[in-house]
């Protein structure tokens, strides 16, 4: 039962206070007075300030850093402005891994995103099936990879991939398969990255797709069954058209996170062997914090992140566009 606003002297008194800025101009309704107020700023500014000082300002400052020769030796604010030199060096591609890491990363986005979408879709469809007993229990287990701290999971995978005595190679040996040097070979390590990325990120895809699947009205399936549609036809002509938009949105988000993968290459084998799997974020991090004793490296890293951010911006732009479409429905 809704409570009716009671007549209250107290409220009337505060309503007609002369110092109440909004009081006079706004309509004399409760909503007018209570919900439109400058007091909101006092509630928002503390958080905004903290966010600005420790997050936004450093980012803005790093734009300036990208035009300097900063490195560990002059990071105490004695670095010099050097104009576009960092950008020129990166874009020229001479002596840097700029284009290589970009290419490798886009390859990783292509493979890992396809795998994530397919695996997420397959699991969502399987575990939405009415034939599985205890779907809820299954789903709780399936979300586990998302629950665990990523560092822990990736390190566990690193031990699993350990050559030649890790769990995976031990199993391969016992069923007669050749043992694989997972992290010591460029292609194998790339496959390992994909496995770990899919393992870490499918719960997101699966959850989004499951939510979409559950919003499909069952009557549609019943009707199609009456009309004699096969299960493939139901998937193709009923399920997919109804879930593709949330799926597309999730795909763009997950592409962006694949593009920004850092922990997986860093913790598995440092982007190796010998930098063959150097992903963009890892290379940026290495320049800034592992090669920072090389003059100019922190400035170059800042410039590198600026260039990378343009690409992420494109992801975000597409995401907002698609997200906007989704929201309108």
């Amino acid at each position: 039962m809704k409570r009716r606003p009671k007549f209250s002297l107290h409220w009337r008194a505060s309503d007609s206070k002369p110092d109440e800025k909004s009081g006079a101009k706004q309509p004399r309704t409760l909503s007018g007075n209570v919900w439109t107020t400058n007091r909101a700023y006092w509630l928002i500014i503390p958080g905004l300030l903290l966010f600005f000082v420790f997050n936004l300002y450093p980012i803005i400052f790093s734009v300036y850093l990208s035009f300097t020769d900063a490195w560990f030796g002059n990071i105490n604010f004695s670095f010099k402005f050097i104009g576009l030199a960092n950008y020129q060096r990166l874009l020229s591609g001479v002596g840097t891994l700029f284009y290589y890491s970009l290419g490798r990363t886009f390859l990783f986005v292509g493979t890992s995103v396809s795998l994530k979408v397919l695996w997420g879709l397959a699991l969502a469809i399987i575990f939405n099936s009415q034939f599985i007993v205890g779907r809820r229990v299954f789903r709780s287990f399936l979300i586990l990879p998302w629950t665990l701290p990523a560092v822990l999971s990736i390190l566990a995978w690193r031990a699993l991939f350990y050559y030649p005595v890790g769990a995976i190679d031990t199993i391969f040996q016992s069923i007669g398969l050749p043992q694989v040097n997972w992290l010591g070979n460029a292609t194998n390590a790339f496959i390992a990255y994909n496995i770990v990325e899919v393992w870490l990120a499918y719960p997101f895809m699966m959850t989004v797709i499951l939510a979409a699947l559950q919003s499909v009205p069952p009557s549609l399936y019943d009707a199609s069954r009456v009309d004699g549609a096969s299960s493939w036809q139901r998937l193709r002509y009923i399920t997919l058209p109804l879930i593709w938009r949330p799926m597309l949105f999730a795909t763009i988000l997950t592409s962006s996170s694949s593009f920004q993968t850092l922990l997986i290459p860093y913790l598995l084998n440092g982007g190796g062997p010998s930098n063959t799997n150097l992903m963009v974020m890892l290379w940026g991090y290495q320049q800034a914090f592992q090669n920072f004793y090389i003059p100019g490296m922190m400035g170059q890293a800042a410039a590198f992140f600026m260039l990378i951010s343009l690409i992420i911006l494109a992801f975000m732009f597409i995401g907002l566009k698609v997200g906007g479409i989704t929201a309108e429905e």
């Binding site: 450093p58 769990a167 991090y285």
Partner: protein
Amino acid sequence: MKAITKNLLIAAATIIGILIVAVIIFPIYVIIVSSLSSAVSLFTPFQPFPNPLSFQAYYNVLFGSTARFFHRLGNSLFVSLLSLALTLAFVIPASYALSRFRFAGRRTLLYGYFAFNQFAAGMGLSGLISLYAILNYLNLLDSLVVLAVIYTAGGIPFNTWLLKTYFDTIPKDFDEAAFVDGASYFDVIFRVLLPVAAPGIATVAVFSFMGSWGEFIIANTLLSPENYTVPVSLNILLGSPATNWNLFAAMAILYALPVVVMYIIAQKYLQAGLAMGGVKR
């Protein structure tokens, strides 16, 4: 006949489901088994069952002196709980205001937070370079308090969005009625809204805790060995060939435990937050 087919289908589907889950949780199983084995090095072949069963690794991690797990755990707990408290203190008022009030700049701020959320990781690393320079200049590089503040600041856009969306689901009549009865803003937030918004606030709390608890890159960059948090020391532990793998595994399990317990308790809300992925509306 039809019933038999249906039962067969159920059996087949459930078996497929169990197989898939088994494959997926295999890495977790491996850590658990290793943590229950007696001294295995990284060079010992993997055994599918702990043989013999031993709790020595847990004992060593908890009471032994070499791994200093308690010290690391204390560091992680301190940072995560401080950041959690700060997050709630800054996020609750802001998300309340964004949900209830209309004011100039509201949409700009909301979209700004939203955009930042999507953009954060890439720019965040670049901001870390400046942060390193600034903190180095102020001689604050190796401070757990500063680390907690950085985590809080980083989580403000996401957490504010999350809680704002939750506040949106609470009818305005709730606070309106309280205002009519003469309550102050303070009263409305603390006595009326907070009890109703408890699930939303709990979700933010858990997200904040899990974020700081699991963060690796910033801690790894800023801290010195004395102040290492658990994830940083886990990486170092696994990187050294002398490490006993069962010791690492036991430490990892203990490290994961609080997060898993939280997840089990708050599963429903967290899944909703996961589906949102930091993005809604």
